[in-house]
Each structure stands twice: as structure tokens, then as C-alpha cells.
């Protein structure tokens, strides 16, 4: 990394925000940044102008905004960080890979050796199949759309996804599966067959023609098969040609025999590498013999195939157009000259293949550099290069996580890495799996900036050992609580993780919102959930005030079923108890109601301001035919009334207000009468 890294940070142009004489003012949001043009620092310097401007402003209303270069239409720009998450067709990628990711995190670490490796390879394949599925969707979208701009966008995505899959597949072979000599070549052949599909249409065209052997591209197709090691298909085609040319039957037979006998590595352990090498040597010599004695001299096509079988580099390179890429050339070369190539030898062949293939005509492209880094087993270089080309956190993070699970990242100690994503440069050191954590945080933060993908982000943060929790806390409280359902969803996430402060804050916000909209019941239940005593008191007061004004309670269900949460605040307790008094009264359980009413005052549960109401509520009980308040209770009531009238600092009020005075007089009268009745009654009971 020689060049200064800052040079690679490309400025993102905010269109329309022009004039170099201005600055940009900005504000961070949870997911976006607001940017707008402004002039800073003029507030102090040109104060007088501002004042003059302010004065002139009122007068010249119509022309305001045109003088002094003020913009006639000022604009605010919403800037986002990550474009990918807003592409609808990529949603599948995010959603489905989330499941695979979660599975990988849960997977049994204890699975040792081979079964663990099989599992990881399977995970890798699952990721790849998601990429493929997305690629197909995107391709479909590109085909079906009529908007050329959109089509271009989709096509770009298809090529990005296919590059991702190509790289991932190679990493899977080299790092995850860590294929050994022998199987390695087979895997690489599969890889090339899967990804070099430029020639597929040609093959289809020839095979579907009436007589393939007459087709002008016939030999090209045979060559393609040979170059990709698809011997059976090549032989099948050749046999058609042979039957059409009985004169050269012998020549075909010999070539067919050579192709049939070609020893290939097997995936099973039935043959050792030495056996294979021996067989291969023998076969090679046989090919050599036929070539030298001019068996194929009469047919240049067959001669060139024989040369390819011998691994003749020039002969292979002649078919450059059919291979299209240097890595195809590499694999073909390995197939016919070094079938038992060891992983660590790959780098030499890869480098020379690339040099030979490009031949100084063109310089390697970023994708070439990534693949080269993989062949060199420079895993971190792969990741770094990927991040430069593929501005995609998804790929970057999930691949890293997989490699981390393969225990491949721990082996390295300190790395200096810089990556650029969406013109967004990150530069960091990584200690083993710190890189995973770092990328995880970035990826999950990105998901959180999306209105629905954030839910996936929660799980990702959960698997981030160091900072996951605190990041989640900061992000989750910013999720807009647009509906009760959404608030409950966010709340559940916080409750499951014991994020008490966030739970409290969400409930508080919801309570405030409900109160502002005059939904008292909802406000009360949210503030109970928030365990917010002050707010519960405030809402209880609102309830009581409403009751005093209208004479009935709203949200009875809630108040009747407060249960222990009633104890959250004194006022709430009172509200609950007072409502209970009303219920008892309604059920005509007068003695219990009377007792409760008295307790509310004597135990100081009721606020003083409410005593008058309570005493007034006692009036009908005092006036019942049946004597309800005992003598002792009546005395208590009298004391409450006297306390209220005497001890109240608003004594004045009681004297001035006619209605209040009348009320007090009526109460006194009722109490006295009740006392008289109760004395008679109690005396009678005792006397009898």
C-alpha cells in the first residue's frame, strides 16, 4: 500500500449545493445525514448587516432572498451511507444470509475435524446459493424492466454479484475446504466450469444444430470441452465427426483412446498421489509418442488437441479466446501439466499464468488481483482487495465471519488494513477476530439504517462480543416508534436483553405521546410499564380531574385491574382505591365502602385537595336509612372535616365561597345526625 490512502477517498458531490463561497451545514440522524448550504461565522462578524437585513426584511418582503446572493430556493439534502440496503432485489440477500449466519453462530464448535469442515463447506455453499438466487432475480429484473437506467443498475448488480460468487467459491475451495493436492484440481475445474460461461451459448448453438460436425464452430466447442477437462463430452462430439469421416477413423480412435485413458485425480482415497503421478507420466509419454510420429499431422485440429493434452503452453494459449480469462488458462495448464499441484504451489503457476495470458497487453484488473491474492493464500489481501472493488458490506462481512469460524483469522497477529466501502474509507488494525467484530458492527449498523432490515441487525449485534450491546442500545432507541405495535416490538427486544434504560425511555416516549393525544388510559399503562412514578402521578391527577369534571371514570378496565402496579405512585394508589370505593358503592356494599373511604383520608392516601370530594362522597352514606358509619368512624370523619377547614391554608376559600360553606354546613349537619342515630343504635344494641 504505497499510495497515500486519503487519495482514494472520493468526494461525494452534493448536486446543486454550489457556490464555493458557501459552506455546508449538516446534522446527523440515526440513519441519514442532512446537508444544506449555509454561511458560517457571519453571525458575529457582520452583525450590522444582519440587523440591517432583519430590518429591511420586513419592509421588502417580496424581494427578500434575492439580495446579497441569498438563494432563491434553498435546498436540504438527505445523504445516506449505504446504497445497497435500499435495493429491493437485494433484500433476499440480507434476509436469507441472516438465517445462514445465525445457523453458523449456533453451529457446534465441538464438531471436530472432518465433520466440522463439511459443515462449514455447506454453510459456504448456502451463502453462495443465496448470491446465485439474488443474481437470477436481478437478471430477471434487468430483463423485464423497460427503464434503461434501471436496467443498467440491475446489470451492474448482476456483475457485482457474479464476481462475489466467483471469489467466494475460490475462497471456499482454498480456505474453507482447504482442498489438498488431487481434489484441489477437481475443485478448480468445477469452479472454472461454473463461472466461465461465455462459451456456453456457442456450445448450445453447435449442439442444437442439425449436424454439429458440419458447424463452423464445431472444433471450437471440442476445444472448449478439452480445455475445461470435459472429456466425455468432447469424445461424444468427436465420435460424431469420426462417423462422418470414415477415412480418418483410425486417427479419431487413437485420440479418443488417449482422452479416455487420461488419468484424473479421484475424490476418493482409492489411489495415492504417487500412483496417479505414475499413471499420468505413462499416459503423457504415450501422447508424446503419437504427436512425434505424426499420427495427427493430417488434421491440425486434432494435432492441437493432442498438444493441449500434453500441456503445451503455446497450444493452450492459442485458444485464448475460448478461455477468456487467465484463471481458466491456469486451471487448464494445471490439468495437463501439473494435475497433482499442491495448494502452496498454486501461487507460482497463478502468477506465470496471468503474465502469460495477459502478455503485457493489458494490466490486471481488480478482480484479477483478488483472485491472485487468493491463489497466494493471502486471505487478508483478498478481503482488502474485495472491499475496494465491491462496495458491499454484506460480502465483506459474511466472508470474514465464515473465515473466522474456520479459525483462519486467529493465526495472524497484527494486520494493517484499509478498506473502502461506498467511497468510505476504513483503516484499521485487526487482531484476529477483532476484524470480524469491527465488520460486524459496521454491517449491523448499516442494517439499522433501514426501516425494516434493522430487525436483522439486532441478531448481528447479539453476536458481537465486545461492543455489540452498547451499539444495540444506541441504535435501538432511535427506531421510530410510529405505532404501538412497533413500540411493543422494540420493547420486547429491549426487555429480552435487560436493557432497562431503553425500556424505560420507550415507555416514557409512548406515554408522553398518548398523553399529548389525550389517550389517558394508554398513557397510564405505558407509564406503569416505564415504572415512571412522577408521570403516573400526573396522569392519575388527570383522571381524577376528569372525574371531578364529568363525574365518571374513563378506562375502567385499566383502573380496575391495576393490581400491584397501583403501588407505583401514591396518587395512582389513590386513584385505584378511589375507583374501588365507587365499585363497592355501586355494588351497595356500603359498610366496606365507608371503611375504605375513611381509610383513604386517615391513612393520608388521598391528597388533601381531594378530601372535600371524599367527604361529599360520604354524604349519601350518612343519609342512608341504615346506619353505616360507627360512632368512632363518625368522629374520624368529623375530625377530617375540621382538619380540612381549619388546617387548610386556603381557609379563606372556605369562608368566602358560598357553595363550599354550604357544603361544609351540610356535612356537619349530616355528621351530627348520623352521630345521633348511631349513639341511639349502638346504645340499643348494647342495652338489649
Amino acid at each position: 500500500a504505497g499510495a497515500p490512502l486519503t487519495d482514494t477517498v472520493l468526494p461525494q458531490v452534493v448536486p446543486g449545493a454550489d457556490s464555493s463561497a458557501r459552506q455546508l451545514c449538516f446534522a446527523w440522524g440515526p440513519a441519514e445525514v442532512l446537508v444544506c448550504e449555509t454561511l458560517f461565522g457571519r453571525s458575529g462578524g457582520s452583525r450590522s448587516r444582519c440587523l440591517a437585513g432583519a430590518a429591511a426584511w420586513a419592509l421588502t418582503d417580496s424581494v427578500a432572498g434575492t439580495e446579497d446572493g441569498a438563494p432563491s430556493s434553498s435546498r436540504v439534502f438527505v445523504v445516506r451511507r449505504d446504497q445497497d440496503i435500499y435495493i429491493q432485489t437485494l433484500r433476499k440477500l440480507f434476509n436469507e444470509s441472516h438465517g445462514i449466519f445465525m445457523g453458523l453462530q449456533r453451529s457446534e464448535e465441538e464438531l471436530a475435524g472432518k465433520s466440522r469442515k463439511t459443515q462449514l463447506v455447506q454453510v459456504s455453499k448456502n451463502y453462495r446459493s443465496v448470491i446465485r438466487a439474488c443474481m437470477e432475480d436481478m437478471h430477471q429484473a434487468a430483463v423485464s424492466t423497460r427503464d434503461p437506467a434501471l436496467q443498467g443498475q440491475y446489470s451492474t448488480q448482476v456483475s457485482i454479484l457474479s464476481a462475489m460468487e466467483l471469489i467466494w467459491n475460490l475462497c471456499e475451495i482454498l480456505f474453507v475446504e482447504a482442498a489438498t493436492a488431487g481434489p484441489l484440481l477437481l475443485r478448480l475445474l468445477d469452479w472454472v466450469r461454473l463461472h466461465v460461461c461465455d462459451v456456453d451459448s456457442m456450445v448450445r448453438e453447435v449442439l442444437s444444430s442439425e449436424s454439429p460436425s458440419k458447424h463452423k464452430l464445431f472444433w471450437n466447442v471440442v476445444d472448449v470441452f478439452v480445455l475445461q477437462g470435459r472429456m466425455d463430452e468432447a469424445r461424444h462430439l468427436l465420435s460424431k465427426e469420426a462417423s462422418a469421416n470414415p477415412t480418418s477413423m483410425n486417427m479419431y480412435k487413437i485420440l479418443d483412446d488417449l482422452m479416455k485413458k487420461m488419468p484424473v485425480p479421484s475424490l476418493s482415497n482409492t489411489q495415492t498421489l504417487t500412483e496417479l503421478e505414475l499413471k499420468w507420466q505413462h499416459w503423457h509419454e504415450e501422447c508424446q509418442r503419437y504427436l512425434q510420429d505424426g499420427t495427427f499431422a493430417s488434421n491440425p485440429h486434432m494435432e492441437s488437441i493432442c498438444k493441449i493434452l500434453l500441456g503445451d503452453e503455446d497450444a493452450i494459449l492459442e485458444k485464448k479466446e475460448l478461455m477468456t480469462t487467465w484463471y481458466h488458462f491456469l486451471v487448464t495448464r494445471l490439468l495437463y501439466s501439473h494435475p497433482t499441484v499442491k495448494p502452496m504451489e498454486l501461487r507460482f503457476y497463478a502468477q506465470s499464468s496471468m503474465d502469460l495470458f495477459l502478455g503485457g497487453e493489458s494490466s490486471p484488473e481488480p478482480l484479477d488481483m483478488i483472485l491472485m491474492a487468493a491463489f497466494e493464500f493471502e486471505m487478508h489481501q483478498v478481503i482488502k482487495e474485495c472491499s475496494i472493488v465491491l462496495s458491499n458490506w454484506w460480502f465483506f462481512f459474511h466472508l470474514t465471519d465464515l473465515l473466522d469460524h474456520c479459525k483462519l483469522l486467529q493465526s495472524h497477529n497484527l494486520f494493517l488494513m484499509h478498506v473502502i466501502i461506498s467511497g468510505y474509507l476504513l483503516f484499521f488494525f485487526c487482531f484476529g477476530s477483532n476484524m470480524r467484530e469491527f465488520l460486524l458492527l459496521e454491517y449491523a449498523s448499516g442494517l439499522f439504517s433501514h426501516h425494516s432490515l434493522w430487525q436483522l441487525g439486532v441478531d448481528y449485534f447479539d453476536h458481537c462480543p465486545e461492543y455489540g450491546r452498547v451499539y444495540l442500545e444506541l441504535h435501538i432507541e432511535r427506531i421510530p416508534l410510529s405505532t404501538e405495535q412497533k413500540a411493543l416490538k422494540v420493547l420486547r427486544i429491549c426487555e429480552q436483553r435487560q436493557m432497562h434504560e431503553q425500556v424505560r425511555s420507550i415507555c416514557k416516549i409512548m406515554a408522553m405521546k398518548a398523553l399529548r393525544n389525550n389517550r389517558l388510559g394508554s398513557a397510564l399503562s405505558w407509564s406503569i410499564r416505564a415504572k415512571d412514578a412522577a408521570f403516573a402521578t400526573l396522569i392519575s391527577d388527570r383522571f381524577l380531574k376528569d372525574y371531578c369534571e364529568r363525574g365518571c371514570f374513563s378506562d375502567l378496565d385499566l383502573i380496575d385491574n391495576l393490581g400491584p402496579s397501583m403501588l407505583l405512585s401514591d396518587r395512582l394508589t389513590f386513584l385505584g382505591k378511589y375507583r374501588e370505593f365507587h365499585r363497592l358503592y355501586g355494588e351497595k356494599r356500603f359498610p366496606e365502602a365507608a371503611r375504605l373511604l375513611l381509610t383513604l383520608m386517615t391513612a393520608h392516601i388521598a391528597p388533601c385537595s381531594f378530601w372535600m370530594t371524599l367527604l361529599t362522597d360520604a354524604l349519601p352514606l350518612l343519609e342512608q336509612k341504615e346506619v353505616i358509619f360507627s360512632a368512632e368512624q363518625t368522629y374520624e370523619l368529623m375530625r377530617c372535616l375540621e382538619d380540612l377547614t381549619a388546617g387548610n391554608p386556603d381557609k379563606q376559600k372556605f369562608q368566602d365561597d358560598d357553595i363550599e360553606t354550604t357544603k361544609v354546613e351540610m356535612l356537619r349537619l349530616a355528621l351530627a345526625r348520623n352521630l345521633a342515630r348511631v349513639i341511639v343504635k349502638e346504645g340499643t344494641v348494647e342495652g338489649s
Binding site: 497515500p4 487519495d7 468526494p11 451545514c25 446527523w28 445525514v33 432572498g65 430556493s73 435546498r75
Partner: protein
Amino acid sequence: MFVARSIAADHRDLIHDVSFDFHGRRMATCSSDQSVKVWDKSENGDWHCTASWKTHSGSVWRVTWAHPEFGQVLASCSFDRTAAVWEEIVGESNDKLRGQSHWVKRTTLVDSRTSVTDVKFAPKHMGLMLATCSADGVVRIYEAPDVMNLSQWSLQHEISCKLSCSCISWNPSRYVTKTFALSLKYAKAEALMTVTDPVHDIAFAPNLGRSFHILAVATKDVRIFTLKPLRKELTSSGGLTKFEIHIVAQFDNHNSQVWRVSWNITGTVLASSGDDGCVRLWKANYMDNWKCTGILKGNGSPVNGSSQQGIFNASLGSANTSLQNSLNGSSASRYFFPPLDSPRAGSRWSSHAQLLPPPPLIEQSCDADTANLQYPHPRRRCVSRPLNLLPENEGV
């Protein structure tokens, strides 16, 4: 980064501030046209102006949202020497049908005798509090004791800084005993840290459970400081938390004055805006090396694509500062500000460079080698002597 939307703000004069609400679903803009506009984001992501009203009788410098726990509340400050608190009213009127909301003025704070340059709500755990600062250098802290009554604000503190105040910022941390981080504090921080140029903005980063605070300062360049509270036994004057201050980064990429700094919600990316017409984004790696990670520019402004990156890892030593927590842990006096006219990290400071020469700028080409380098400074005895840095001591 990419520009997702462009909104015609339709202000009739220069916009001075834009502000997102807590959830990023609403925004407010304020302008020299004396008005504030509120914008709401619809389900499909479009922004609609739902309120626009004349707020002041002068340019409106800043507009800011209170935490949604306090409802839908805005504060604005203006050249007309006032700050105002606004609340959205939910009504059954026709407004709602027309997609318009109604904002009422709950209070006007008229204590300032000069232009009010900044207004900020305190972190929510401190209750409903508001800090303002004004051009004549007075910082005022107001509190609404009853969060349901926004018309009652009591002036809790008035701190004169002598120098013009342009900005204030609250320390968002819950972990320090309600540290009140106001411009005053910075003044002292800066005094010790040789910020000899006008400071235009300051911002504390959200605390990620770190043991220290991160502060960004916009002056003639972007600077990032860490403030590490010293352990109690190390501090001499009982009760006051002192800080060990390090400058961790300094960037002059803006090549000119920097006017705004602010942190993203996780405190991991700093944005700064300067006279070069760019917004630059800064991010640190695990080793506290700060790098530019993105640039936003207007298409008319020239970008200096320079590669100059000053990386500071110089320790200023444990500047045994008298940076007090405004709230000393145990004391009953809730907010402690020394009764001094402390210098303001404001303007006209350029003559103090000789007191504390700026630390060496280390050009680093390979961060791997030098990341751990520390450049210790001789310990400075600046304890409780911020007054020494007042302009009248020029030439000391």
C-alpha cells in the same frame, strides 16, 4: 455515501441550521428569514413541510429538538437576543386534515442582551434543561422543573465568559456524575491545550462505555481530544473531577476555518464542515488513528484532495487541569462553576501561543510503526490558573 433526496426548503433567506429529531423522522430548519420549518418523513420516505412559522424578529441561528420523552418540543435562538421554546399542539382542528401541525410558543427567554448564538437541550437524564450562549459571552442554563409545563423556565445559572460565545455542547455521558460540559469548561480545556484560535464548534462523542470522553473541536482545524477523568485519590482538591487530556488527532484538510463538528449516534464517525465547502467524515481504528473516511462537497466547491494527514498521538502529559465537573460528586451545591470570569474558547486568543507551543505534528507514513508512539510533554502546572490566559495577560 450517496445523496438520497433533495428537498426544496423554500426558505426565503439563508438556512443557518438543520436538525434531525431523535428518531430521524422529523427535521427542523431555521433561516435568516426569521422562520422555522418542521418537516415530517412520510412512509414512503418523502419529506413534507408540516409547519412553518415566524419565530423571531431576527435571523434564527440554531434550532434543536428536545428528547421525545418530553414530547414534541423545539428550541430556537436568534439574533433578536432571545431563545424560544416551542411545543407542537395536537388538535382536532383542520390542521391535521391538511397535514399541518401547529406549534405554540411556550416561553421566550429574554435574559440575553446580545444575539443568542446557540441553544442546546441537556441529555435527558438531567431532566428538561436548556443551555444558551450569547455573543457577549454569557452562558445561561435554564430548567423546566415541571416537564408538563413548558412555560415555566427558571434561570439556574448564568456564567459570564467575557469572550463571545458561539457554541455549547452537553456531555452526554451518564457515567460521570452529571458532568456539565459547557463551553466554559472547554474554555479551560482549550486554554490548557493551546487552542489559540477561535473555536467555532465543539461536540462530545456518545460514550460507548469508555473510561474517557472524546471531544471534537472545530477551530482553524479539526481537533479531537480525549478527556480521561483522573481517579479520585489522584486529585487534590476534593470532589472535583480532573481530567487528563490528550490530543489524539488534528486535521487541517479543510485548509481553512472549520465551523461545525458533530458525531454520529454511536460516536464512531465525526463529521466536520469547513470553509472549503466540504463536509468531511473521520473515523478511528482500534488504535485510535483517525482517518478521513468520506467527503461531501457541493459541486461548485473545489476539493483539496491532499493527502496530508497529521496524526497526533502526542500526549500532552497529564495536564493537571482544573477542569471541574460542574457537579462535584458529593457536594450539595448542584452545579459548581467557579465564580471567575473564565476565558472562553472563543476568539482573539492567538497571542498565547508562546505559553503552550503546539505539540509537534507528526507526519506518519506507516501507522503500524508509529501508532504507539507517545510524545510526552513536560508536565504543566496550570492548575486552577485559567485566568492567566485571559487576553489582558497578553505578552506574558
